[in-house]
Symmetry: C2
Subunit: 467 residues, 2 copies
């Protein structure tokens, strides 16, 4: 059983850390973007160094006080806020923001509190690309990005956060420092703790620093919005894009007519590429050394010939490219303005997607009448499958159906071999889903690992593993 | 303490598995390629299915009998042969060889006993590429390739074995099956057991099946051998290649004059590209949709202008490309004919390599006179740094210096932030190195995980974790 981070404990910490490490625990640290959870905490510390983090964790272990590691607070599954149980210590990484770029190695060594956008900008200054790209990039911090194995729009080409990380330094739950901050591209010396800590959402230790992979910046980028007959043809077009441009396909995002309609209704200033929105379309980005425009034209022509593309707009300037991206990027905002009843961050085997989309809609129709806005990272098999009220209704009218909607979508995803959390993680929101859908062998291994590495259960209690 | 796989235990297994699962334990299973270890075993089983593997492991757990999982037997660190301790059961995956290609998903689902080359060929038949490429590809099996997180010549572009794997199915040490054979590109649902099992060298369970990533086949490939002033310039040229061709750089292999000399002495039929071997050169391969030849010419010209390239040969035909590759691929054979005293599979931060190479040679010279053939995957920071006797001497003359040579090289690698096992793993050969050079936090986590997942210690005893 854990103890609260009470006043005597906080004053004990004051003996260990400099004054600057203590910041007020304002309400901002206890909220999360969707407003579903409200956290609590006995105090907040913001160490400046890994050694200070280790001191904090040792003190928490000795006193059996829970720790909630805090990055940018942008997570969508409640991993950063603890509603119940003895008040935890909030451990914010916000003062650990150093970024060192090694251009000759295509590596940036970054402290966990560095903001994603700052990392991208430091890389760009060195004429390199850090490709991880999230809507929350202006606030998300690298520690959280790694702890949740964040995804985003460039995963198709560059991989998830874990694929962009060569090494991590972390403080383990007993206060030991794991010095794994290597800048090596190959290192086969025992179990890969890096990959265990990445995606563990702070339950096995606190990532304090990371060595991140950088890339050459594609000098020539082409962007197009291509209308397709349906998701099946979109997938065939993805395969064709692979033939034409290899791994230079940087993004392949699906948008449906519902997405365009939501935009027209709620964000009419966003210029839409088609006078009559097609049933389905994809936003395609190719980035290469040279020849992107001609590769895109080739893809367009071959796609038309094969019946995979029915219409399309190829951006002729940077401004046009940005306008096309703006359509995709504003869909979440349009969604927010309508207010989804239930949102689902799911992934499926690519070939199951064309079946899944209508089956999900049919299954939901048995509960009530809804609008589904299905969009997202088609190239990764990752859909945001969000359920909205019909015009004239509001999410509040369906509050009692939320659980049934979620179960309906998640059951179908599970049945078709998919995942009920593609990129957002488990946090506290989906602990029940993991227990319900998770493989028995995996669950028992997760429990064994958690007990072995964090036997006192102080690290981010209630996340991934039930409290 | 473990029990031997004795006659009563084997006859107990005969009650569980069909007759076909029992094969003679011939000497071939007890040898390893370098002839340094000779194994032992109480018997061999070759199950046909994951369910049969689970039955075997359950029986071993109940009887506390050690299990040595056996793939292609090509590992170089003794992970597949157990010299000491109670005779283990050898569990060969050789009868589990099914391969199913899903071209529309760019995925192959492969049983652990499938031979790497067969996977490559099945992918090629579907007009796809499985990029993992090893010298031992005709014998290595996918289970072993994943268990050791194998590397090879295409890591620069496509990553190690772990980067090519979307999901694994495995039997855990208690006989439970981990059903993780997803074909998902994104799945953030709890700790990533896949990445824990990959690289664990069979110590945390037996991988029985895997979902592997396939790629579009680069339609246009250019190969060149470019002479460079030295390793520092080779690294600058690598950065330049990234600018010119982005991620289309498929291979970037370093060769030294010593490599050419060893070839000339031992394999004179291998046609060499330069009449007078340069001090250093790199084999560069670019693979893209189109324009590879012009990108290579551009790299050559820009490299000459910048003083990074002094001479070069760009292949003008497939035959010439193969001839250039043949030079690189025959270096290990030339090495074998001479007989290295000690071989080192090391990696370093890229920027440390130009310093490391001469510092290693200087440090070795304090022990005795040697020839060093340093070659390998420069783009990955992975060198094979192999130490040979001077002309007229033999490896046997230096047998008593082997340990000192290894320590000399490994100490320097460690001091410069590198890894003493870049791609071959720990096995039984490097257990002492891991204990010596491994981070304390990492070692204690490794022990905790091993005890939690395999509390009886039956899985590949003595590998990674000391017996």
């Amino acid at each position: 059983m854990l103890n609260p981070a009470d006043a005597p404990f906080i004053s004990q910490l004051r003996g260990l850390l400099p004054e600057a490490a203590f910041r007020p625990l304002t309400d901002a640290y206890l909220q999360e973007p969707r407003g579903r959870y409200h956290g609590q905490g006995g105090g907040l510390v913001a160490p400046r160094s890994t050694a200070e983090v280790a001191q904090v964790i040792r003190a928490c272990a000795a006193a059996r006080v829970g720790v909630v590691p805090y990055g940018g607070g942008t997570g969508l599954v409640g991993g950063q806020v603890m509603e119940q149980g003895p008040a935890p210590l909030i451990l914010s990484l916000e003062r650990m923001r150093d970024i060192t770029v090694h251009p000759s190695e295509n590596v940036a060594v970054v402290q966990a509190g560095a903001i994603l956008q700052d990392v991208q900008e430091c890389a760009a200054k060195a004429d390199r690309l850090f490709p991880l790209s999230l809507a929350s990039g202006g606030s998300a911090r690298i520690g959280g990005v790694l702890a949740t194995n964040a995804g985003g729009v460039n995963v198709l080409r560059y991989g998830n956060a874990r694929d962009l990380c060569l090494g991590v330094e972390a403080v383990l739950p007993d206060g030991q420092i794991f010095n794994g901050l290597t800048r090596l591209r190959k290192d086969n010396t025992g179990y890969d703790l890096r990959h265990l800590l990445i995606g563990a959402e702070g339950t096995l230790g606190v990532i304090t620093s990371a060595a991140l992979r950088l890339f050459a910046r594609p000098r020539d980028v082409a962007v197009a919005m291509l209308a397709v007959p349906g998701p099946a043809q979109a997938l065939d077009l993805l395969a064709l894009a692979g033939k034409v441009a290899g791994e230079s396909v940087s993004a392949f995002e699906l948008i449906s007519r519902m997405g365009f309609q939501f935009l027209a209704e709620n964000l009419p200033d966003i210029r839409q590429p088609f006078p009559h929105p097609p049933g389905w379309c994809v936003l395609v980005e190719l980035g290469m050394g040279a020849g992107a425009a001609s590769a895109m034209e080739q893809l367009f022509e071959l796609g038309m010939e094969a019946g995979l593309v029915t219409d399309g707009v190829i951006a002729q300037s940077n401004a046009q490219a940005q306008a096309l991206w703006s359509v995709r990027e504003h869909i979440p905002e349009a969604n927010r303005r309508i207010g989804s009843i239930s949102s689902h961050d799911i992934s499926l085997p690519l070939s199951a997607i064309p079946d899944f989309i209508p089956r999900g809609i049919d299954a939901l129709a048995k509960i009530d009448q809804y609008r589904v806005n299905c969009f997202g990272h088609l190239g990764d098999g990752n859909l945001h499958y969000n359920v909205f009220p019909m015009p004239g209704k509001a999410r509040a009218d369906h509050e009692d159906q939320r659980e049934a909607i979620k179960t309906c979508v998640h059951d179908l995803v599970h049945q078709m071999g998919g995942s009920v959390s593609a990129e957002h993680g488990i946090g506290r929101l989906k602990v029940g889903d993991l227990q319900k859908y998770g493989d028995a062998g995996k669950l028992s291994a997760i429990h064994a690992i958690k007990s072995a590495i964090d036997p006192l259960g102080i690290m981010n209690p209630g996340v991934i593993v039930p409290g």
